[in-house]
Symmetry: C2
Subunit: 243 residues, 2 copies
């Protein structure tokens, strides 16, 4: 399973992902699910992947192949709007899925995949979009300034409570880590290392990147403090009238 | 949608449920999903329901009918173990589902239902069990001393963090309310009033019951304090090294 999320605040974007990939409980492996494509001063594009690993790898491979092919009809550098990239990824995903649809149906295997794409193209605002397995896509809204793919429910309440447009990039990144931590505790198939990219609006440059394992002091401190904070908050809750 | 949960701690049991029932977004109604059957000094039995309302109502109706029928093969008073009651509820549920299976399949409607049953029979320890739509059932474990039905993921992280065997009944009830509150914020189809029953081990008597709406002062205070506590915990999280 997977859990990836992207947050859009006034100051920029945060992307975060786990790295656990499982084809059943007996074949659990570690793959990065965060892919970045940066052309300084021109565009910074981040892609998060969830779902069937063969499908997501094929999509990323095709994206790279088109960038190497001067005759490609479309590639990440040619896009003028972020939604064109979402459409492109959705088309690549659908094409790949169609190729293997009959065999997958026969084997009763899902080859579906979801993606989040985000970033900024010079002259345009930062954006994040979620691409469904069917190839269609949605963008985040001011009311819900985040998008999630994979095992998204355990980590949603903290995002619902904390994230608004004026959240700082650092607070958004901390919130993403808490959201990932809550998900890992409740679902064994979401696991480290955790990757975080922090993109500053109009930076159009390499973002801050973090890769955190369970033994990274920052992540350990975050887990401990959050747990202590929750325990404290819990002890402060009002008593029932008979207590 | 629904969210119900039961918690088993050393000192007894806590049951909690929302009351929102929806057949699509345009037919949202309020039904209690918590049913209690108390014979003081002998047994206290609580049933929480989730899933198709026709199926759950039929099951509860049959349970009541058997209690009124001196010739019934089995009823809640005859059970010597809680798992017998789980088996009985599972059988009633399956019988009801089978009656309407063809029509439901034809209409592409799910008539599945899940249940939590718990309580205590005199001379035996308190127990909680979850009954799947297929009629089979599981009990809670010391490592995971709670069971959930319905929209269970949003509210699970706080239970994972807070509930252990030695949690007090009042803390378990507060945790259930926080878990319900988090779920209501993240999923519009889970809604008030919230019902809570607190059963003290070996009480074999009427439990404490609470019914909370959004305007109940206790629930408002709990929401406010929890939100403040989370905001405080969030502000105390460690900084990144560049901050």
């Amino acid at each position: 399973m997977t859990y990836c999320l992207a947050i859009k605040v006034d100051r920029g974007l945060v992307f975060a992902s786990d790295s656990c990939t499982s084809a059943g409980v007996d074949y659990v492996t570690t793959y990065s699910k965060m892919h970045s494509f940066i052309w300084p001063e021109d565009r910074a594009i981040f892609i998060l992947t969830s779902g069937n690993l063969a499908t997501t790898q094929a999509v990323i491979n095709n994206i790279r192949r088109h960038l190497d092919d001067p005759d490609a009809d479309f590639d990440l550098r040619q896009a003028r709007h972020m939604f064109e990239i979402a459409h492109y990824i959705g088309t690549l995903s659908q094409t790949e899925q169609r190729q293997h649809a009959d065999a997958a149906k026969h084997a009763n295997i899902s080859i579906e995949a979801s993606f989040i794409v985000g970033g900024q193209i010079n002259g345009r605002p930062p954006e994040i979009l979620l691409i469904y397995p069917q190839g269609n896509y949605i963008s985040a809204s001011p009311q819900t300034p985040f998008l999630q793919i994979g095992e998204n429910k355990y980590g949603k309440p903290i995002l619902d409570r904390m994230i608004t447009g004026d959240t700082t990039l650092e607070d958004a990144a901390r919130c993403a880590l808490v959201s990932l931590d809550s998900t890992m505790r409740s679902n064994l198939s979401v696991g480290p290392p955790l990757e975080v990219a922090i993109y500053q609006k109009d930076g159009l440059d390499t973002p801050r990147r973090l890769k955190l394992t369970l033994s990274t002091p920052l992540f350990q401190a975050l887990q401990t403090r959050w747990n202590e904070g929750l325990q404290h908050a819990f002890r402060e809750l009002p008593r029932f009238d008979w207590e």
